[in-house]
């Protein structure tokens, strides 16, 4: 099934309240400032090397929808097929029954194939105006890291996100093409997942492209 180019689900939807947002009750402001400071401190300490963990801390229970557009990256053929993946605009629509999505206070995980890339609570920093959360790795990130992640709450209640990760194991692309890998975007106990089809122009090219959905053989995090 082909991607829908920049598919945007236009529908009326309420903005999901964020406990860390200025919209919270006035009595929470002091606590909010303390939490924000702590979150910033944690984010600053953890910014080196991104954050790669063995797996999601909790199993998501609210399963939303994923809207994808073609994406790309680079694969190091001589490096055993380790790849950098760059996604510019994908959308996450939370499940209608969600108990809330809070990118700055919940653990955020990008899962691709057998690998997981995680940001601990507080590492995604919300903008002053609210509604946009950003993480950028500082210094020299390790070989397997989130280089950047940006999450934006859209007017229709969906979350658009873009990211760049390194250290993805795409060694299978050295022997077959295309390959289908499971992908998930997880914020706390909310997630959206689908299979992504990856390809390269040849077995020696360093270019990598995500061009379609697919049904993978399994879901490693299930």
């Amino acid at each position: 099934m082909a991607f829908a180019r920049r598919s945007i689900r236009r529908r009326t939807g309420r903005r999901v309240a964020d406990c860390a947002s200025p919209e919270a009750a006035p009595t929470m402001n002091a606590m909010h400032r303390l939490l924000s400071f702590c979150a910033l401190a944690i984010a600053a300490l953890a910014a080196w090397g991104g954050s790669v963990h063995a797996g999601p801390a909790a199993t998501p229970i609210y399963h939303g929808k994923l809207d994808m557009t073609p994406a790309g990256g680079k694969i190091a053929r001589k490096g055993g097929g380790v790849a950098m993946i760059k996604v510019n605009l994908w959308r996450f629509e939370p499940d209608a029954l969600t108990n809330g999505v809070s990118p700055s206070t919940e653990r955020v995980v990008i899962a691709l194939g057998e690998g997981n890339w995680a940001l601990e609570p507080g590492m995604l920093v919300e903008s002053k105006k609210g509604g946009v959360w950003t993480y950028r790795a500082k210094g020299k990130p390790g070989p397997r890291a989130i280089i950047m992640l940006r999450v934006k709450l859209e007017a229709d209640g969906t979350y658009s996100f873009r990211f760049r990760i390194t250290g993805a194991d795409m060694s299978q692309l050295n022997t077959e093409d295309p390959v289908c890998e499971p992908f998930a975007f997880i914020i706390g106990d909310d997630d959206a997942f689908d299979g992504v089809m990856l390809t390269s122009p040849s077995f020696v090219s360093s270019k990598l492209r995500i061009f379609d959905r697919c049904t993978p053989g399994g879901w490693p995090w299930a």
Binding site: N174, T175, D177, G217
Partner: protein, 423 residues
Amino acid sequence: MLISGRVTWRRRLLLLALLLGCVGPAVAGDAKALKLRFPKVVIPAGAAVELCAFVRIPLATAFDTDSYEIRHRGVGRGLSLAHFLVYAYQGDDLSGFDSDQVVSSRACLDLGPADRDARQLVASGAAARSRGQLPSGTAFRFTPAGGDRAIGFVLDADFLNGSGKTRTASSQVVLHRARPGSVKRVLQPILERTAEQALLVPPGEVRSTEVATAAWNAAHIGQPILRDAWGPGLATLGAPAPSGDACVLRLSGHFHKRSRFFGVDFVDGEGTVVPSSGIANPFEPGRKHLFGTADYTDPGELRPTPPRLVRTGESLHFGCWVDNGVGAPPRLGCEESDGVVPGTVRIDGGAPAKPCPATGTSPAACPATDPAYPGRSFTGRCVEADVVAGTSPDDEVCQLAGFYYDAASAGGCDLSAEPALPR
């Protein structure tokens, strides 16, 4: 052939080409690639159908291939492939296949002779265009066997037409010849069949080949035990096992419709199963396998990267979990003795029950004698039967399949320092 007028050099060349083409069937020994075509087929709107075609390729000498391309025409816009598999037939009865037919068959088990399960997956690709290549230095070798100056392939295409229109599709597979001087190891087949030898599943049960084999071993003390495993130096039933350390490049399984799970474990030199965080066994909670699959029509493959080294003393243990009437209809067969469930274990010289369509007295389906079953007599009743190993699609097999190559001279699976095989 008479040609009037001046015979130009172009016409001489054309004549020569025509004469060469008339000498006999083209043999592909010098070809740079083998091309396999899945003929154009018609898929009705809304249909989900698995189609199978046999392709016979004339071949005078061995052909080494290390890469392939697959292209499908007509897919997209609602027509898709659940799987497209290319099997190399490795049995002894090439003439048992009909090359002119496209057959609708689950897992292509209704196509070909009794040893149709003697096949190895060499390529696959359900995308409109896909390609594959073997690790550097390795190649498949296709060799015409016996008196056949040909090799055979089974193409298995599982179509799904989600559109509202009848659609047509065709496919082409190109197997590229390996570059001369590039091959350091020819991949050897893994085809191990011991697990099915003692298989017996009574009606109304789900039973594994592990349980069946253990029961048989316990009842036959003093006889060579069945190991249900493949590894260097192990006696096998199927393709010869390696004599020394081996590098497993691909691992898969062969089983039929009543097997609901196929699992493989790695066993170390002490005989201990090495725990795996791989595929969960649906019948044994908490147990996970190095490789596992539940789809007999598309079992998939484990392709370890780098290849999995199996040292002398180590092995790959495998098993099937077979269902005879629990989650699926039971096996039915013609009763041979009053009150005795038909179907006997292969390793004891037994055979599957003669199939019949429905339980009850059925003189038509179960006559007293049948020339197709010499030496056997029947009571006239169709009853629930044991599931045992057999060659028909209604019986079971449980086979470990795949490919390996002999380890490098210095040990391990890195072939970069190995010399190329002589041409």
